[in-house]
């Protein structure tokens, strides 16, 4: 019989968790509550004696200093209504899992199958709340009903029923317990084929269904199948496997497709694969240009890109998105996003040690007050959940979060974007072989390590290949468990150094189907028995085992002569490892369940069977109303409004929640300046503590410019990443880029009549990617695309603005030369590097005034690259005191940030700014707020001015002002009048107040 153990805070102990809930209820739901108290509840469903239960309650389950406990007796008293929240059956319950282990240590007896401990939280409310208000609190704040269940009891009811009953959210095997495979008849009408695809969340198109149909009609295939004891119809395992392998998420069909592009002048072009024509071509051509200085080691082919760091070490970097799951369950989706991307560099080459994370989130306004379509969570909940999910995932994994952004646009309420990146480092050679290379030999064993398989994350790959709709499947959501993963990594990195495996890869989207499918491609086949896979609970169908995206798993190829040592070591480290079969060279992806063959798919058909998509694209440049900017004598208020704008304001309340210093290598932190609160441009870390060689990372993202032209959106994103990188001292000789595309569906269909325009936006973005990266000697080493970022419920469609996150990773030879953005000393001279033009199209200032505009900033790559090279020389010679990049909000915002970060004033003469463009456009507002690319605001000590100017030359390098003792920002207009005059304290307050309480 399950027994409840409760642990509640003693009287007089402050309940920080309860206080936070109370604040949130008042803040978000506008309800008044007198008090919220919380307690932990452990429902133990295991054969334990009363004494053992009490030992557990008094020991691991409670803290004697602050808590009291009870076994099978409710503790709650003095409340008006109680709400208890626990997980639904099958949802990852990390606390429950740890509680179970604690009991096993305590009793010295392992649990038997079916036994478990389940965690829930009880919330006790005091105050006059109606039933519907409590419902609102439960569903709007305490619990996400997709993954959690709740029950509510009033105080009298609670007394009458002796509290909440012990509830065990165990997954039942189902009434039938039927885990046999089914066959699916594809000899049906087209309508019926589509019904099969839709009902099964297969996300296969009619054309794809017909290709599968044709494959099973092939007499040779039928004959081969007969030999294996299979009929002519595909099995459910095969169909699910093909759907996963061919999903947009895994196959990148849009980037691989053939695009028929027509530009604004009617010129037509056929592009065979955007990926090959632009992304791969960029890297190939840059590497050729670099020649002997090429530093790329492994690009595009592995889970992450690999570049050289020095003779002894290589760097690995990958950025992923986890948008669809984060829309449904922001906490679990985002947590899974970060621990998921950790597995990419860990599963690259022979395996890398993880050195930092980066996070970029795109949300709608958290203060959004308009009605939302049903099923969409409020942006505020998404914000809270995502921030907390990534916090837990990153912090608990012991990886510092060193760089990131929050970007806001109303359209992200349709789907938030959650970008998570992870870098790693590995010895250049392991066991006498380059660490970035790996192979599989036929006969190597298929081994899965880490967590067990459940129904979680089934159809994740196919579901994220569709728009979010009313019926998006609940099972697509998983919750990550950073500790299970950390244990696995602790074990695997030691196994790597002992040479106990030959190949490693991650189990992410598509689960075993994807990882083993790809690994089998290395040697030409595999034979795997799904009945051997460890399950969280019985009752999974073979196809579910194959495609489950249950987290914290790696797949490995272990040579037969190392398997005993591998398994023994995994056991000692408390990590589950299971042999599932072996790799072969049969040319077939051969899956069994026990003795029975459940899938028999020729590798060639799986990986090459799909013809390229045909995609129409037509570019018609949009035109927007040209902003009418009021000419004013004083722009101080405008500056303050910009500083408070969501895209510019301080994100400190979020950033402080992320450990950015663990591992001890932090050199340039997210915050710089006299009060540790100025916004750094990029991060510098030392991954090897007895060396001063630093890794530099930065990013650029500017979706707003997509409303004008995605070519320039992309060019600006790349330039922003580079100028942030260069600002802190990153070297131009060793820097690589990662492209993460998040697009709205660009495929022409009934649901997407504007597909050709969106596809043309994608083409233009790729063109810019090639052009700018080539000019900047910036090879692309990895990336990802997420192409279905729309919400559609049949009436309302919300498409995100096309967004490219461009991340860079590179090196600073001596981290002690790094530069931060805070001004350092009164009397230092202020320089603006780069020319300013009237380019307010898509700018924050235009948005503030209610415009989009047309004059999007254009990147002059040749001029910018020369400037960056010169600036880097100045940094290396120690001539630069501070440097801050100009981006959202232009010069005025950058100057304000540098000044208040340094606690010193800045005085700038706008007439000295280098201007690009006609005299008639020369205006104070453009000088202040234009977002022209490739500009840096630099301060230099007077004694270094001559040397600095000599290095920078005349190309758009202007001395524009001076750092002052007086804590004030002063900006003098063209005409000589003062257009900005403000104390640093008021500017900083404007910048800090917006998100301070979140």
């Amino acid at each position: 019989m399950p027994i409840r153990i409760e642990a509640a805070l003693k009287d007089g102990v402050r309940d920080a968790r309860g206080e936070r809930i109370k604040r949130e209820i008042e803040h978000f739901l506008h309800l008044q509550v007198e008090e919220v108290r919380t307690m932990d509840v452990y429902t133990v469903d295991a054969a334990l004696s009363r004494q053992e239960l009490e030992q557990a309650a008094a020991g691991p389950f409670s803290d004697p200093v602050i808590q009291e406990w009870s076994v099978d007796r409710p503790l709650a008293a003095g409340f008006d209504v109680a709400v208890e929240v626990g997980f639904r059956p099958g949802v990852t319950d990390n606390v429950g899992r740890t509680a179970r282990e604690a009991v096993e240590y305590l009793t010295g007896r392992p649990f038997v199958d079916g036994e478990g401990v389940y965690y829930s939280v009880q919330y006790l409310f005091k105050g006059a709340l109606s039933v519907s208000e409590v419902e609102k609190i439960a569903t709007g704040l305490l619990c996400n009903t997709l993954i959690q269940r709740y029950s509510i009891m009033s105080a009298p009811e609670f007394v009458a029923r002796r509290g909440f009953p012990a509830m065990v959210p165990r997954v039942d095997a189902g009434t039938s317990g039927d885990t046999t495979m089914r066959e699916i008849d594809l000899e049906v009408s087209d309508d019926e084929l589509m019904r099969i695809s839709k009902d099964g969340v297969l996300a296969l198109t009619l054309e794809e269904m017909r290709i599968i149909q044709a494959h099973y009609r092939d007499p040779q295939v039928v004959a081969e199948r007969q030999k294996m004891g299979l009929g002519a119809k595909p099995t459910d395992v095969e169909l699910e496997c093909l759907a996963q392998t061919w999903s947009e998420h895994c196959k990148h069909k849009i980037f691989a497709g053939t695009v028929h592009y027509e530009d604004e002048n009617g010129n037509k072009q056929e592009i065979k694969s955007l990926f090959k024509s632009f992304i791969q071509a960029t890297t190939k051509d840059v590497r050729q240009k670099l020649g002997a200085k090429d530093f790329c080691l492994s690009v595009f082919k592995d889970n992450a890109g690999v570049i050289r760091f020095n003779d002894q070490h290589s760097l690995v970097f990958k950025v992923e998105t986890h948008n669809s799951p984060s829309a449904l369950d922001p906490y679990g989706g985002a947590l899974t996003g970060i621990v998921g991307v950790n597995r990419d560099p860990f599963g690259t080459g022979k395996g890398a040690r993880l050195i930092f994370n980066t996070d970029v989130f795109c949300f709608a306004d958290p203060f959004y007050e308009k009605p939302l379509p049903s099923r969409l969570l409020h942006p505020r909940r998404i914000y809270e959940g995502v921030v907390e999910g990534v916090e837990h995932g990153g912090n608990k994994s012991g990886i510092p979060t060193v760089n990131g952004s929050l970007v806001f646009d109303e359209r992200f309420c349709g789907k938030p974007l959650v970008f998570c990146g992870t870098a790693g480092i590995m010895p250049a050679m392991i066991g006498g072989e380059p660490s970035h290379e790996k192979s599989i030999k036929p006969g190597d064993l298929i081994v899965m390590t880490g967590g067990r398989i459940g129904k979680d994350g089934i159809h994740g790959a196919t579901f994220s290949s569709e728009e979010l709709n009313e019926n998006s499947p609940v099972t697509a959501v998983q919750i990550g468990d950073p500790i299970t993963q950390k244990r696995m990594f602790d074990f695997l990195i030691r196994a790597r150094d002992k040479g106990l495996y030959r190949f490693i890869t991650d189990n992410g989207a598509g689960g075993l189907s994807s990882s083993i499918g790809e690994m089998a491609g290395e040697c030409g086949g595999c034979r795997m028995d799904l009945s051997r896979a460890p399950l969280k609970y019985p009752g999974l169908n073979p196809w579910e085992i194959l495609i489950s995206e249950a987290q914290e798993r790696m797949s490995l190829a272990v040579p037969p002569d190392r398997i005993d040592e591998f398994l023994a070591m995994s056991k000692r480290f408390g990590v589950e490892a299971t042999v599932l079969g072996e790799f072969t060279d049969s040319g077939v992806f051969h899956i069994l369940y026990g003795e029975q063959t459940v899938a028999w798919l020729p590798m060639e058909f799986m990986h090459e069977g799909l013809p390229p998509m045909q995609l129409p694209a037509k570019w018609t440049p949009p035109t927007h109303a040209e902003p009418v900017i009021e000419v004013k004598g004083d722009y101080t208020d405008d500056l303050k409004q910009l500083l408070a704008a969501l895209n510019i304001c301080s994100k400190e309340s979020v950033v402080r929640r992320y450990d950015h210093e663990v591992q001890g290598g932090s050199v340039v932190k997210p915050f710089s300046g006299v009060a540790n609160d100025g916004p750094s441009d990029a991060a510098v870390v030392r991954p090897i503590l007895d060396s001063f060689e630093g890794v530099v990372t930065a990013h650029g993202i500017c979706p707003r410019y997509s409303d004008i032209d995605t070519y320039h959106m992309t060019a600006n994103a790349i330039d922003e990443a580079m100028r942030n990188y260069v600002a802190v001292g990153g070297s131009l000789d060793l820097v690589a880029g990662l492209d993460n595309f998040c697009w709205c569906d660009p495929v022409l269909s009934d649901k997407t009549p504007d597909g050709p325009y969106k596809m043309a936006q994608l083409v233009r973005s790729n063109q810019a990617l090639y052009d700018v990266c080539l000019a900047y000697n910036l090879p692309l080493i990895s990336g990802k695309d997420s192409m279905k970022n729309d919400f559609y419920d049949g009436s309302t469609k919300i498409s995100i603005p096309p967004t490219l996150l461009f991340s860079v990773i590179g090196k600073i030879e001596d981290a002690r030369k790094a530069v931060t953005m805070d001004v350092k000393r009164p009397g230092d001279l202020v320089y603006l590097l780069g020319c300013t033009a009237n380019e307010l199209g898509g700018s924050e200032y235009a948005a503030l005034k209610g415009y989009v505009g047309n004059r999007v900033p254009k990147v002059d790559v040749a001029s910018a690259y020369g400037r960056y090279q010169a600036y880097h020389r100045a940094v290396m010679e120690g001539l630069v005191a501070s440097c801050h990049d100009l981006s959202d909000g232009g010069l005025a915002v950058a100057a304000a940030e540098s000044a208040f970060a340094g606690g010193l004033g800045i005085s700038i003469d706008l007439s000295r700014v280098a201007w690009k463009g006609g005299e008639e456009e020369w205006s104070d507002w453009a000088l202040l707020f234009s977002e022209s690319a490739s500009r840096l605001l630099v301060t230099v000590r007077r004694e270094n001015a001559e040397a600095f100017e000599a290095i920078m030359g005349d190309d758009c390098c202007a001395r524009v002002g001076v750092v002052t003792e007086e804590p004030r920002l002063l900006m003098e207009a063209i005409e000589g009048n003062t257009v900005i005059r403000a104390g640093l304290a008021e500017l900083k307050e404007a910048w800090q107040s917006t998100l301070r309480e979140l």
Binding site: N94, Y105, L106, K396, I483, K486, V668
Partner: protein, 275 residues
Amino acid sequence: MTKTRAIVITGNGTNCEMEAAHACRLGGFDETIIAHIAELLSGEIRLDDFHFLNLTGGFLDGDDLGSAKAQANRLRYARVDELEEHLLEQLLRFINDGKLILGVCNGFQLMVKMGMLPGFDGDYLAQRTTLTFNDCGRFQDRWTYLKVDPASPSVFTKGIEKGIYLPMRHGEGKFLCDSAATLERIEQEHLAVFKYSGSDYAAPTMEFPLNPNGAQNAIAGICDPSGRIMGLMPHPEAFVHYTQHPRWTREQLPEEGDGLILFRNAAGYARKNLK
């Protein structure tokens, strides 16, 4: 002369082991190893072979049952495979042999929850204090000024004049005692080695964010009456070189960071007193 040897335990969510080991080496230990808890439980590595034990930062078992609770339970009940003993026996022997233990952040939480601190009257298994959720309700990463009690018996803080500046990075760092008597005894015996203060290290403060968690009497770290067993929430191993300081690009700082002295003192003590 025998070599001074430091050990850093890792596994199950510990994540500051590399920088802790680095700090031990810089501090002057002749040998420093990072040992996975599995290697201790299998008997491959024994605490008896070391002088200085580091229980460092991380999220042991995800802090799922409250910070470090599950590991406290594990250390109490887990047996060592090869040897006929519990790991706990090795740990108590380590203390009784006059050796040094430093707990940082999650390691401090572990020590407190096992009862290793404050270690009144030689009892290292009685929990009298705890570390619980920060008053602000959130994890925080920020730098803190720590006023050091010059009268404390701690062997780690000898030579510190006023205080040290270190980063704190935790969600559960609010120090609380089970009774007024415990707190009084900690204060009276000068066991509250570190207290959150202003930048002048003049007086303890309860003001956020200087005191980032609302700890009782602003206590950031305590030691046992022998001064050999110490724990603190902020991270000394995270500030051993000036480039780790948040304002190194604008202040003239010595080469060594403030946290290194704890490791130097530990190495010095081990060399002098331990064999």
